[in-house]
Symmetry: C2
Subunit: 302 residues, 2 copies
């Protein structure tokens, strides 16, 4: 079962205490697609400029991602630059050049419109609504967003939330959206807006999910070496949705396994810059890291 | 199998966004004893002043804690005051009056000296060494400490670390002690100092433990209502050590279960001020919260 993902394809310049990468492939839809591609067919919708290189197109092709929906436009690709603090816990944006992304108006190729799974990465809620109008009765729709839209496009965002199944969001965004610091109460407030499940990403602390009446928490994987957290949230979403699409199990137990699959992919992502940690994986390495999460969290009866 | 715990018995004044408690029973040895008392016999060593009330002595008596080792001295009991930030993540100390605690020189009653389990709560490393010199071949010794001793009494602290089995410490202290931000490498540095296991308390994010070659992480319990985090770390240690003393299983699997038992007790502690969350529990409520941790963390195969 396939997934359509709509979001940014970008060139990132990233500085972390462990190194620096300039004009390297990034963007939410990129990290998502590559991560999800290990689990199911992926169709991506995005926009790039004339400067987008064939080498970077190959990253999608090598992973078998359908790129019919990536439009190439006159101008330069979206560029973002950021620098992380010494402990990676804070990030300063150095520059944002929207370039061709400023006019992004996602149009789904006909072959995308019956995709059973849709992931709306972090773009304007109005564009997320436009994508939902183009798909035919998807089985499962999930959404990411950010503080910029929570502050500036709240009404449109609340409208999209009424039409999606799962919200995938980070802890600060969940608190801001719900106007409530306590995560349990924040989740209750957000569930009342429409989604049946919320997955809250907590960076190095893992993820906590509110799945109807159940709560599930998985820790972050304790890594000895970290390189770059950029894209970890989108990679998480890719592994999560990819696993859901492959298993077809959308109940609480299926969601739990998918959240661990997302955590597995995110743990690989932060070990290298750009797509370096996730573009050359294989089933066995993914399965081994999943078993490492089981070993990390298992405990017996009282 | 019994535990001896050595540490502070105090009166706390605590202000949180959810209320205020004045001159209320506290202290590391107090929280530890009450938490551990649900699992095994506890013998406490501490010092109080003439102002220590019979009502507060009753808190220990009701839980069956052996208080022969609590010395009553002329003067006032140790007093501490603190105020928490709106989200409970930061704490400002309002005052510290050591009073009788300033001259604390722990002397173990003869009936304590063969206790198979010893917990050295956060006191001067020199006093922790003096306690170790008074016990006869304990099966298991664990230790807590704080930034004050890491900075000011490093040599004595390193000496104690060479004589204990388990270090129970919070994440900031672990980083400071190891002079290393990455927790995996920090744990490696600390294990090289002597302990065979390190349990790192991470507040609302739970605990991560390095148990020889294994890593174990348990999340914090997502609570809808919080009152006061004071004593949560000592309560965790009490549940942890109490479970180890009861089960007698000190291998990685026993340690994992004990860490969850500690997390269970800590989750009750933060739901009320002072000892309010833990002094009236029973086996069934503890077992139910333990099962809730199992439900919170379980997931199936990939």
């Amino acid at each position: 079962m396939s997934i359509v993902v709509v979001g940014s394809v970008a060139y990132d310049t990233v500085i972390t205490p462990y190194g620096r990468a300039e004009d390297t492939l990034g963007g939410a839809a990129t990290f998502f697609s590559v991560a999800a591609s290990y689990f199911c067919p992926v169709q991506v919708v995005g926009v790039v400029g004339e400067d987008f290189s064939e080498t970077d197109v190959d990253v999608f092709r090598e992973r078998g991602v359908d790129i019919q929906g990536i439009e190439r436009r006159p101008g330069r690709s979206f560029r973002w630059g950021g620098e992380y603090s010494w402990n990676l816990n804070e990030r300063e944006t150095l520059f944002t050049e929207l370039n061709v992304f400023e006019q992004f108006d996602p149009v789904l190729p006909p072959s995308y419109r019956e995709a059973p799974h849709v992931f709306l990465a972090n773009i304007a809620p109005e564009l997320q609504l436009s994508v939902l109008d183009q798909v035919v009765q998807p089985r499962l729709v999930a959404l990411d967003t950010m503080n910029y839209w929570i502050e500036g496009s709240r009404d449109a965002l609340v409208e999209v939330l009424g039409r999606v199944d799962i919200l995938v969001i980070n802890d600060e965004e969940a608190r801001q959206l719900a106007d409530e610091y306590n995560l349990v109460r924040a989740a209750e407030n957000i569930l009342a807006m429409g989604p049946t499940a919320i997955v809250i990403k907590r960076g190095e602390h893992g993820a906590t999910a509110f799945l109807g009446g159940e709560v599930f928490t998985v820790p972050g994987y304790p890594l000895r070496e970290l390189a770059d957290p950029t894209g970890a949230g989108d990679t998480f979403a890719g592994g999560f949705m990819g696993h859901l699409a492959r298993s077809g199990e959308h109940g609480p137990d299926g969601l739990r396994r998918a959240i661990v699959a997302g955590s597995v992919m995110a743990s690989f992502c932060v070990e290298a810059f750009s797509l370096g940690g996730i573009r050359n994986l294989d089933e066995e390495r993914i399965a081994a890291r999943y078993r490492a999460f089981q070993a990390l969290t298992r405990f017996g009866d009282l």
